[in-house]
Assembly symmetry: C2
Homo-oligomer: 155 residues x 2
């Protein structure tokens, strides 16, 4: 019989071999925390955070989202979207346009300055993402995105 019985791994791997480490929710939370921190750090030089970057991205993409759509998509309270848009609008990066089809709603559109900033920020974001995915092949990258989509958009 092997001299090694049911040994506990030591040091760094001790927690990584715990039951929790197999938990998808935990892995998701931790991966998200690291990714978010890296993204925020990289976006800081543009005066953005992951949140404002996301809003700017959708505005610059000419999707013409309403604030409500933004809230649902980014899983935020509508009041948080107000603050987020206020910030970007004060910096003249986006514009609120009352939706002609529904004058209660504001549609978000990026200004030229907003598009320019987004283009630059997107570079930083892509660089970070590549760094994080250094250990992942391009095929696995796509596979991962695909699987995450199933979790992120269940319907």
């Amino acid at each position: 019989m092997s001299p090694i019985g049911k040994t506990r791994p030591t040091g760094r791997d001790r927690l990584r071999d715990s039951v929790l480490a197999g938990d998808l929710s935990f892995l998701l939370a931790r991966a998200n925390a690291l990714t978010l921190a890296a993204a925020n750090a990289a976006l800081a030089e543009h005066g953005l955070k992951a949140r404002s970057y996301s809003v700017l991205a959708l505005a610059a993409d000419d999707v013409r989202p309403t604030q409500r759509e933004l809230a649902e998509f980014l899983r935020l309270d509508p009041s948080q979207v107000v603050a987020l848009v206020d910030g970007l609008e004060k910096r003249q990066l986006v514009e609120r346009q009352t939706d002609p089809a529904d004058r209660r709603a504001n549609v978000l559109v990026a200004t030229d300055a907003g598009r320019a900033l987004f283009a630059r920020a997107q570079e930083s974001a892509r660089a970070v993402e590549l760094g994080l995915l250094a250990a992942v092949t391009p095929e696995d990258h796509e596979r991962l995105a695909q699987l995450l989509r199933l979790l992120a958009f269940p319907d």
Copy 2:
């Protein structure tokens, strides 16, 4: 030539076809938000949240983590761990034991009541996870965990 040019999808898919929706950070954030909300809802009946559940899980697993290890593992500030452990200890679910090897450090151990509660909570957690992964085959489930591990533990 096709009568359909570069049409924008309408309604629900409008935002989902945006550039942002291809962003791994975004997918991660949204998947995590939904998962976290579901987990918290399910754990509420046990008086737990995802955070306290994680701490309890590690304590019940006999990993004997110090609070510092907990903080690093869960990506929390050490002061947040204090509050978390305070809560669990007040409910007699875990115990602080001063590490004999380093009397500055507290090692976390679950009480019998803690283990019992964790067993029950784990059931709820597993049920939620299965629900979220309804659209994912078991092989893909494992693949997803594997890929997330690369992001969650880059070294």
